[in-house]
């Protein structure tokens, strides 16, 4: 007898669980676990930050975008930096839920639910920025084509209009994907609730799901097709975001490397956010059996791979600055390395290219503390990348006479930090009110669920 090859990787789900115990463990977090004081404190702080966001936006609506640091030549300041940063973070959720489903990576089953929630809240945070950045936000609906008495229509040769369609489609499909994933679990919560009002609320949301074989069959078909649709969609969204830049003729924007480099950067920062959320969640809610070392390791490997693609993007940008022979492109490179914002460029290289390479060491890759810190560094680095792309490219372009500097104001910071607060407040509510791990998909991973021929 030949010895079977030992699989040394950590399991996707620790052994010993049954259909019943998986169900109880995840649903009890929502149904019976008392709400802790630290939850209230955490949610309260994030709620206050959300209020700060609303205050900053309210003041913006009263005074106008002059309260921000945006000036000519830097017309795209924090708003666009933060928009690209947030929408990029969202991409990891769709990658986990759709692309890994198509690739039959069953380890995704325990992290897809909250990664999708993360996507939804990140897209919501992202969506705020272009809308309040338009100057007259009460007319933001002009972005959509609708019959109007002015008899004007959007101009469909503009990437900014493409972006409206890409982001709104992305938000809609992400919400639908998340919701249909929730339906069977909402039915579980309906059947497990003790209190009548909970039964009614979860019951209405579950829409009468009863787990019929006919329903499951159509459900799986729809879910798979939706994953197949979301896969090209998610790749298209950051591609279109990069077109916002690449179609312009500004040095540092007008490059063909942008779409793949943006998509890789999006997934890079998104997995960093997934890890930053998963590591505390699995600790606090004692879900180490479901979100195992394997998940952390795999996420770290995705970060390493996408980080190297991003590094390739930086390399090509620098190379083309020299190889193109274009003096403005060459100057951009010089300005990044030696200009007034050079500190941020070096920080970017350290955060995105330097520090994450520690993940090559298996021991650090499986250490939650290290992963958490590296993820934080990557999120900062990816924010700096968008800052470099937006601000450094714009502040010194063709004519020396039109050079300028960009200094964010307190309102810029309040808006940015406010969206982080809103994002985390929504995550706090999500983990309290909905099953943060897909219960029915976890059931399919158990040995009991195997169909033997």
């Amino acid at each position: 007898m030949e010895e079977p090859v030992q699989n040394e990787r950590a399991p996707v789900i620790e052994p010993g669980y049954t259909l019943g115990s998986v169900t109880d463990k995840i649903s009890s977090i929502v149904l019976t676990r008392p709400t802790s004081d630290s939850w209230f404190i955490g949610f309260g702080v994030m709620f206050l930050l959300t209020m700060m966001l609303l205050f900053a936006m309210g003041y913006l609506f009263v005074k106008g975008v002059g309260i921000w640091g945006v000036t000519i030549p830097i017309g795209w300041g924090f708003a666009i930096v933060n928009f690209v940063w947030w929408i990029g973070i969202g991409h990891a959720g769709t990658l986990i839920s759709a692309i890994l489903l198509l690739l039959r990576q069953s380890w995704r089953n325990s992290i897809n639910r909250f990664a999708e929630a993360m996507t939804l809240f990140a897209v919501a945070s992202a969506g705020i920025f272009p809308l309040i950045h338009v100057g007259r936000p009460w007319l933001a609906y002009w972005l959509f084509p609708y019959p109007n008495t002015m008899r004007v229509w959007p101009q469909f040769r503009s990437p900014l209009v493409w972006d409206v369609f890409a982001v709104s489609t992305y938000a809609t499909i992400s919400a639908l994907f998340w919701f249909i994933g929730l339906i069977p679990d909402l039915a579980t919560l309906r059947d497990r609730s003790e209190e009548r009002w909970k039964k009614i609320i979860y019951g209405m949301l579950a829409m009468g799901w009863r787990g019929s074989a006919r329903h499951w069959h159509r459900y799986e078909t729809a879910y798979l097709l939706l994953a197949g649709l979301a896969t090209p969609l998610v790749l298209s969204v950051h591609t279109v975001v990069s077109f916002d830049f690449a179609v312009g003729i500004v040095p540092g924007w007008h490059t063909t490397i942008f779409p793949p480099y943006f998509v890789a950067g999006a997934i890079y920062s998104g997995f960093a956010m997934v890890l930053m959320l998963a590591i505390p969640i699995r600790k606090i809610y004692k879900l180490e059996d479901f979100i195992t070392e394997r998940h952390l390791q795999n996420s770290a490997k995705v970060m390493l791979a996408t980080g190297l693609i991003v590094a390739y993007g930086y390399g090509i940008e620098a190379f083309m600055g020299w190889y193109s022979g274009n003096r403005y492109d060459a100057f951009l490179l010089w300005n990044r390395l030696h200009g007034p914002y050079s500190f941020f460029y070096y920080m970017l290289l350290i955060c995105n290219l330097g520090i994450p390479q520690v993940l090559w060491i298996p021991k650090l890759r499986s250490s939650p503390v290290w992963l958490f810190l590296v993820s934080l560094v990557v999120l900062v680095g990816m924010w700096l990348e968008r800052f470099i792309i937006v601000v450094v490219s714009l502040h010194r372009d063709f004519l020396t006479s039109s050079w300028g500097m960009y200094y964010p104001t307190r309102w810029d910071w309040m808006t940015y930090i406010g969206t982080i607060g809103m994002f985390l407040a929504a995550m706090f509510l999500f983990v309290r009110l909905l099953p943060m791990i897909s219960i029915f998909e976890m059931r399919t991973l158990l040995p009991e669920a195997e169909v033997k021929e």
Binding site: T23, M207, S212, A213, H217, L225, L226, S236, R443
Partner: protein, 178 residues
């Protein structure tokens, strides 16, 4: 005198295998109107209860085609017919620029068709359904598996169905009122 209406006879099973086996044997015994309930999707169960026609892919295809056509024709009509604007000397009908929005609209309509088509074909939302009258049925969303023979089946005779289901060794059998 009219008897209380019955929705069907329900048998409860412990495992995927006993349910699959029971579903296959029930279908082979000639029962046509049957259904099975499980806490997660089971490969082969739909075939076992005799369900073959899944229209969801067709709905999604139609949704995608409508979305793509809507996206492209909308841009064509706006840019060429209703509001022609000369942008950098590009033709009014600059089709390469229209690809992105056409693509996004295809995905949007197909995705909406997938979700709402699936729900509509499943008859959801459905606030009331007789299967929930069975007190054991709450475990169908946890760790139990159920097989149902509907009373609308032409072969449905309460005593015979019950003895047939008993032969499948379920954990329990109950008659579900309508």
């Amino acid at each position: 005198m009219k008897r209380a209406k019955v929705y069907g006879m329900m048998a409860e099973f412990d495992s995927v295998h006993t349910l699959l086996d029971a579903a296959n044997r029930t279908r082979e015994a000639g029962f046509k109107k049957i259904d099975a309930y499980s806490p997660f999707p089971i490969e082969g169960l739909a075939e076992a209860i005799g369900f073959h026609h899944d229209e969801v892919p067709l709905v999604v295809l139609i949704g995608g085609i409508i979305g793509g056509l809507t996206g492209y024709l909308m841009q064509y009509w706006i840019s060429v017919v209703s509001y022609p604007v000369n942008v950098g000397g590009k033709p009014y009908h600059s089709w390469p620029s229209f690809i992105i929005v056409t693509f996004e609209m295809t995905i949007l309509f197909a995705g909406i068709a997938a979700v709402f088509g699936m729900l509509a074909l499943n008859g959801l939302p459905m606030p009331y359904h007789p299967v929930f009258n069975s007190p054991r049925f709450a475990f169908a969303s946890k760790d139990r598996f159920f097989l149902m023979v509907f009373s609308s089946d032409p072969k449905y005779q309460p005593a015979e169905v019950r003895s047939f289901l008993e032969g499948l060794h379920p954990r329990s059998i109950s008659e579900v009122p309508d």
